[in-house]
């Protein structure tokens, strides 16, 4: 078994601050201040997010569950592990190439659009000088970001979901130490 944050309260608050900032400024990668140890296939950055967000009142769905990772999450966060993606508050995508369609996750209902899933997607890397342009709340003019390791069909599925606003799914992408957020309000511009 592995340890988690050395100081659970303050360490998760420091990470939460960065995640909040990442969500407020979509598609602009930010560095996470603290990375805890993590069992495979969860990366340290994804584990930092899970330790920060999950507790006994939330449920998590793992794309590639294994005993060690499940035990680790249960021990350190007390979270419930969801059997199927539609029931999860948070989902960890450790293999984006084979991720289930976005429509399989909860995307809220008209009275409670907040009852939707937040996805944590482990990707290979970010490039801010390439890729698509994005616009929306929190972005001055446009933001450019290429996300390596994300399949093309992800963007098609997300575009199909865009018509359902305010329903939708919020995503965090993590690579190495960095996190970039893609809330449902961010539009991908056609180039």
């Amino acid at each position: 078994m592995l340890a988690a944050f050395a100081d659970p309260v303050f360490d998760s608050q420091r990470n939460f601050r960065e995640m909040l900032q990442a969500m407020a400024r979509p598609m602009q990668p930010r560095e996470l201040p603290l990375l805890p140890p993590s069992p495979a296939p969860i990366t340290p950055a994804a584990m930092a997010l899970l330790l920060t967000l999950c507790d006994a009142t939330t449920s998590v769905w793992l794309q590639q569950p294994n005993d060690e990772a499940m035990h680790h999450l249960r021990f350190h966060t007390g979270t419930r592990l969801a059997e199927n993606p539609a029931e999860a508050d948070f989902a960890l995508i450790s293999d984006p190439a084979n991720m289930p369609p976005l429509a399989t996750f909860a995307h809220g209902d008209m009275r409670y659009p907040d009852r939707s899933a937040s996805l944590i997607v482990q990707v290979e890397g970010f490039r801010t000088d390439a890729g698509a342009h994005f616009a929306g709340p929190g972005i001055r003019d446009t933001a450019q970001l290429a996300i390596d390791g994300l399949p093309e069909r992800f963007w098609q599925q997300r575009a199909e979901m865009a018509a359902q606003l305010p329903l939708g799914i919020d995503l965090y992408f993590v690579a190495a130490r960095r996190v970039a957020a893609l809330p449902r309000t961010t539009r991908k511009l056609e180039s």
Binding site: M1, A3, D7, F75, H76
Partner: protein
């Protein structure tokens, strides 16, 4: 090891948790923390809701909240856990560490002799003192039969 290791562990965890922090610290002085020990969960203090049932079978009720400090440590492949009443982090650390050592069949007899046995005697002495004090203040009530 006991024939029922689960029950035996419950008993020693209970004993470690009920010990006075000072007694436990003295008893554990001889056992230094090994270098490969990892604190999986550093001592964390929080509140637990104590619940009870009247007569053990009645409906549940909330008795009140109690301060509890928990701690977990890993030594080699063994993980020691502790939940102790109160906010004493050192007590939780020592109890978790002792729990990890007690699971090791080689170290168990030594710990049993130098740690558990003195703690058991001290706990028994405290209980006896408390019941003697209570017995000294016992009042016998009786009703005088009224002549009608």
């Amino acid at each position: 090891m006991d024939s029922s290791p689960h029950l035996a562990r419950q008993q020693w965890m209970s004993l470690l948790a009920q010990a006075e922090p000072g007694e436990l610290a003295t008893a554990m002085e001889a056992f230094a923390l090994p270098a490969d020990a990892t604190w999986l969960r550093p001592p964390q203090t929080g509140l637990y809701m104590l619940r009870g049932r009247v007569g053990g079978t009645g409906p549940q009720f909330n008795l009140g909240e109690v301060t509890v400090t928990r701690c977990s440590v890993q030594i080699g492949t063994r993980v020691g856990h502790a939940w102790v009443r109160g906010g004493n982090s050192r007590h939780a650390e020592l109890a978790a560490y002792a729990d990890a050592l007690l699971q090791d069949n080689e170290q168990h007899p030594q710990l049993s002799q130098h740690v558990l046995e003195p703690l058991r005697q001290a706990l028994q002495a405290r209980r006896d003192a408390a019941s003697r004090k209570a017995a000294a203040s016992k009042v016998e009530f009786f009703t005088v039969v009224r002549g009608e």
